[in-house]
Subunit: 155 residues, 2 copies
Amino acid sequence: MMNDLHDLGRRTAALDKVIELSVLLNDDMDRDLARRNLTRSRVHVVWLISQHGPMTQRDLAAVIGVSARNVTGLVDGLERTGFVRREPHPSDRRALLVTLTPHGEETAADLQRGYVELAGQLFGSLPPRRLDELTKGLDHVLAELRRAIAEAESG
Amino acid sequence: MMNDLHDLGRRTAALDKVIELSVLLNDDMDRDLARRNLTRSRVHVVWLISQHGPMTQRDLAAVIGVSARNVTGLVDGLERTGFVRREPHPSDRRALLVTLTPHGEETAADLQRGYVELAGQLFGSLPPRRLDELTKGLDHVLAELRRAIAEAESG
DNA sequence: GTTCACGATGAAGCTACCACATGATGAATG
DNA sequence: CATTCATCATGTGGTAGCTTCATCGTGAAC
């Protein structure tokens, strides 16, 4: 497998870079969100509703992958700060539909614009060929990671 | 600037991949840490001590970038679960030196091995040339991100 | 029409963070 | 050497995100 020290060093250096990128990106996003009175967990809810339309809290919980109880809390916060409203479900009186307020809609559109802008800042100065190489490399790593995770989960 | 729709799509797709990688990596790490009765915040402390040797809580707070009060809590947790000990500082009776227990040392070594192993899984099957391209791409993106952050902070 | 499933929420508890106040010690100053 | 000011850790109290378990109302199926 040619796992000499040089290879190991190059691989861990690459992983270092991925992780550093992840940390910086998260910090940057958190700063941006804090300015808007949002958190990552809450903006996830706003984002999903802006993409899929009004959703029940149960559905939100399933998509986000957290407990329904937790979604109650997230929606509480978003309602307090004016991003969403709880509306009765038209056909199921147990359920509530979480919908975006106008402010919530504007925020989602803003975030979308910011996302595209960030992508431009990060990748805009990369020649198409190099962007392509980078994308292929990321695809490769993503595939390997998914494989490793699936393997760890099964066996 | 040639910001046509195609370019925008390729750039946001690349950002999507970086973010997905970040999410998967974080989840994977959290699962691994949970098995060891650790959290990301706590393991950060363990990691720093394993690299720098025993440190005061004040120093830990400065390096991690959180309040000293918070480090007290992290060390409380690590002490309860047997990863670290608080020892008197040899020359400053106000301060405590946080040191690793044998279990903490073993854990740090384990984590180190796991990290190298993960790097191997993710990058091992990438031909050297492609790993090199990927690394250069990541360097480019990291530099752009740091630039963007610095710019946002100053102006 | 009763039984069982399901949606949302109250209660209680954990971790990670914060700011502010306090008590003890260190260090510097007159 | 005594006072003063800075520094280390921690108590207190607060926010946010997450959990499980219990409850209450409603849906749905037998």
